[in-house]
Structures are given as C-alpha cells and as structure tokens.
C-alpha cells in the first residue's frame, strides 16, 4: 500500500504471538473505543523474566503491527529492562510509522507497562 513500511506490513500479515495466556501473570489493557484502538497484552513471568507474551488487538494496521512487535521484543527480557521499552522504540523497530499513527495507534509499550504493573500488584498480594 505504501502507507506503511514493509516491516509493519509483515507483522500485519503474519502477526506473532496472537492470543491470550490463560494463566497470565499480568494483563495490560490500553486504548479506547472512541479512537478505535484497544490492545490487551498478556505476560508470563518466571524468575523476574518475561518468558511469554501474547496479545489481542482491536485496531488498525499500526495497532496490530506494534502489538505483534512488542511481544517479540520482550520475550526473555527482565521486567525492569522490559519497562524501559518506549512506544517510540517499538515504532523504530518497525521501520517507522506514519506521523498520524505515532499517537493514536502506537500504544503497545504502554500496554506492556500496564501488564508489568499488574504483575507487580499481583505478586505483592501473594
């Protein structure tokens, strides 16, 4: 289409790690129906490391591609290291996004942060 980079289209066509994790250690949800993007990020944590990450996304090409990309970026990373991943870094890993998408659809890192927060809350309770 030319609007998105090849990398974005690759992730859009064949998104990685789609799905839910039934016994997830943390779940993060971002976005809202008004702007039309809702992402749910699931993580599984072991010994302070993210061993699995999956997503479900309602949204445009950029929303799907960034979700797919972040699940790849975080696997095997320690949770503190994973928290450092920014939305901008996800966009860069995808070879950039159209300017209008940088704000509305580039939320995957926020979704991951929420999942990690959720994990931290849950582990406190234990």
């Amino acid at each position: 289409m030319g609007m998105y980079s090849d990398k974005v289209m690759e992730h859009f066509k064949n998104p990685h790690n789609v799905g839910e994790i039934k016994d997830a250690d943390g779940i993060g949800e971002v976005g809202n129906p008004i702007c039309g993007d809702i992402m749910k990020i699931y993580i599984k944590v072991k010994d302070g490391k993210i061993i699995d990450c999956k997503f479900k996304t309602f949204g445009c090409g950029a929303a799907i591609a960034t979700s797919s990309m972040i699940t790849e970026m975080v696997k095997g990373k320690g949770i503190d290291e994973a928290l450092k991943i920014s939305n901008k870094a996800v966009a860069e890993a995808l070879g950039g996004l159209p300017p209008i998408k940088m704000h509305c659809s580039n939320l995957a890192a926020d979704g991951l942060s929420k999942a990690i927060e959720d994990y931290k809350q849950k582990s406190k309770k234990k």
């Binding site: 289409m1 998105y4 289209m9 859009f12 066509k13 998104p15 789609v18 949800e29 809202n32 129906p33 008004i34 702007c35 039309g36 993007d37 809702i38 992402m39 749910k40 479900k56 996304t57 309602f58 949204g59 445009c60 090409g61 950029a62 929303a63 799907i64 209008i100 998408k101 509305c104 659809s105």
Partner: protein, 392 residues
C-alpha cells in the same frame, strides 16, 4: 494480481471517450475562450456546448450553469455566496449533521462570522425528516443546504419533500449532488432546488472541474473575484479541456441513464449486500435498504476495525474505503456513522464498497468469496469475541 476497484464514491476513472474529447483542447485548440480570434472562438464554442450538455442532464437552462474547480468550490460558492448576499434578510442557515466537509466546514466558517447554523439530525438510515426542516425555519433563515445522497452510507434524501417546506418559506435551497449527478435521474425543477453542486470526477469526468447550477434570479455574491468569466459569476480563465470533459461525461451519463444502465449496478449492489450479510455474522448494512445510491454498499463488521479490513482487502487486490478514525483523517470515527446512532466501536468497523459501471458479476463473486476469510482472520486478533464484554 487482478485489481478490483470498488471505491467509485471516492473517484471514478476518466472515461476514455471523455479523455478523447478533451485531448484537442490542450495543444491544438488552446485558445482562451474570451479571445475574439478564431482560436478563442473555437474554445468558446466548446465551453458552451459542454454547458448545454450539463444543463440537459439536470433539466436546467444552460445560462444557469457556472463552472467551478470542483464540487467543493461549488458548495463553498453556494453557501458563502448566499449567506453574504442575503445578510440583510437574515443570518440563519439550516443543514444536516451528515453533510460532506465542504458543506460542514463552510457552515462552520460562517458561524465564526456571526451566522447561526442549525445542524439537523438524521434517523437510523441517515434520512432527514422534512418536518424537522420545517420546524427549524425561522424568519431569519436564508438558506437550507442538504446533500442529495450521502457519500458514505448512500442514503438518498427526500429532496422534493424538503423543497416543498423550504419553498413555502421563501428560503433558498441548495443541494450537494456530487454523489448523484450522472448516477440517478435529476431534474432541478422537479426537485425544486435553487442550487445544485456537481463534480466531474465522480461520474467518469476529469478531476478539478465541477459546476454549480444557479437558478435564474438567485441573489448571490461571488466567491472568486477577478475577470468577467462565467458572466461575472466566477473569475479565472476557463479550464477548457476540463469543461469539455465534464460536458462529455454528462452526455455519456445521460445516455446510460436513458438506457437504464444503473439497474445493472443496483442488481450487483444487492447481490453484494445479500452475499455479505448471508455469509458473515455480526454485520449490519448502513444506510437505507432501498433509498440508496445504485453503487453504494456500506457495512459495519463488529469487533474489528476498518483500516485493517482495507489493508487486507488491498492485499487481495480489492480497493475499498472505511469511515474509521484512521481513514476519516481525524481522531474519531466518521461523523456520518455517529450521526446515524452507531456507537464509536461499531462505527470504526465500517467498510464501504462503491460499485461503478464497469464492475462485473465475477468481481462481486470474488469479494463475497474472500471477505469472510478476511473478517475471520481479523476477528481472531480481536480481544472481543461475539460481544463487547470488557469494553470500558
């Protein structure tokens, strides 16, 4: 890969016959129609011939056709021109919530200048109630501007019925006919309108040219000032080739309408609608089931978003459109889909397929064949399954 074009409401191809008619007016018959010499006069003749064809298509007098640079300019001219020329009579304009931005933004501009604008609601099909128009008219109302048919959901408005109440009140009536001219029969006297906007590239004419039908005696001021072209109504040297193309497009459209060719498009549209509704769950048709443009099919597929549908269809060679935020060029879903009462999450899942004269039965079958798979694949990515549970 074979490509299938189903975005005719955005633009149509320029008919090869139109291009052929335009061709001499670039490098051979390039005179300025305002010049006295033979070069000028052959261009003048071509412009006037085009004016006749356009007038004939909509049942107008040729002197009532003013050429513009497109539908947007025609809308701006009608709305601002009437407002500025009739300020002494009043400052109130009536329009609807589902107009094209060319109309909505012109009205908003006038609001900043002190005019008052009423934006009428529509029902779930996108229909305006003539009774609402009647109720909105005050002694300060100078203009009612309503679209003939909606560009997104295809609903055709009850213009004749609206005209009755507008005319009774002695108010000017403009219709934006960009989506209807050349596609359904139009007679300005039968409809009872004072102004009508049209655009060449929406009915197989060239881009960058349109016209405003301006009923004789209408009190209006100019939008574009300069030379005396178009009988002092629209300055600027005429776009001769474009105007010739618009004229040819009008002639060809009239031929098609006389032969009832739009019936084929209606049949394909209904087949497409039925095929999609029958094969896919959680889908709704937007717009009126029968009072709709021959080529327009517009759906909302729940739990998925429009742009991702467009990307997926494009990968299969099908060109379509959507009213999602991403594709409406703003941060919210289409104002039209919201105005017919759809919640934002559903409005984001809209898909518009608009057929043209050259679409074939095979193309319809192809789309009906591939769309269920696309929807299914995208729904597998969605956090919503069969309901909107969990939506904040």
């Amino acid at each position: 890969m074979k490509r299938i074009y189903m975005d005719h409401a955005a633009t149509t191809s320029t008919d090869v016959e139109v291009v052929k008619a335009m061709e001499p007016y670039f490098s051979l018959k390039y005179g300025n129609p305002n010049s006295i010499h033979s070069f000028g006069q052959e261009a003048r003749e071509a412009v006037e011939e085009a004016r006749e064809k356009i007038a004939h298509l909509i049942g107008a007098n040729p002197s009532e056709i003013v050429f513009t640079a497109g539908g947007t300019e025609a809308d701006n001219y009608a709305i601002k021109g009437i407002a500025w020329a009739n300020q002494k009579k009043g400052n109130h304009i009536i329009t609807s919530k589902i107009e094209h931005h060319a109309v909505l933004h012109s009205c908003q501009f006038l609001e900043k200048q002190g005019f008052r604008v009423t934006y009428l609601p529509v029902d779930k099909y996108g229909l305006i109630d003539p009774e609402d128009v009647k109720k909105a008219i005050t002694d300060k109302t100078i203009l009612v501007t309503i679209m003939h048919a909606n560009n997104e959901i295809g609903t055709i408005e009850p213009i004749k019925e609206i005209s009755k109440v507008v005319k009774k009140a002695g108010v000017y009536f403009h219709i934006d006919s960009v989506q209807t001219v050349g596609h359904i029969p139009i007679d300005v006297n039968d409809l009872g309108v004072d102004m009508l906007s049209m655009s060449g590239h929406k009915f197989y004419g060239p881009n960058g040219v349109g016209a405003l039908y301006l009923r004789k005696g209408t009190r209006i001021v100019n939008l574009i000032d300069g030379g005396a072209q178009e009988k002092n109504r629209r300055a600027g040297t005429e776009n001769v080739a474009g105007i010739v193309g618009l004229g040819k497009a009008a002639e060809l459209a009239e031929e098609r309408l006389t032969q009832g060719k739009e019936k084929k498009i209606v049949r394909l549209r209904d087949k497409l609608i039925k095929g999609i509704i029958d094969k896919i769950e959680n889908v709704r048709l937007n717009g009126h089931p029968t009072k709709r443009l021959p080529g327009n099919a517009n759906f909302c597929f729940e739990f998925i978003e429009g742009e991702s549908m467009l990307l997926s269809l494009d990968m299969e060679g099908v060109a379509a459109s959507s009213g999602s935020a991403c594709t409406s060029g703003s941060l919210t879903a289409s104002h039209i889909l919201l105005a017919i009462g759809l919640p934002p999450e559903i409005a984001h899942g809209s898909l518009r397929l608009t057929l043209g004269k050259d679409n074939t039965e095979e193309e319809i079958d192809y789309v009906i064949d591939i769309l269920p798979g696309i929807i299914e694949k995208l729904r597998a990515l969605s956090p919503f399954k069969g309901n909107w549970e969990g939506l904040n």
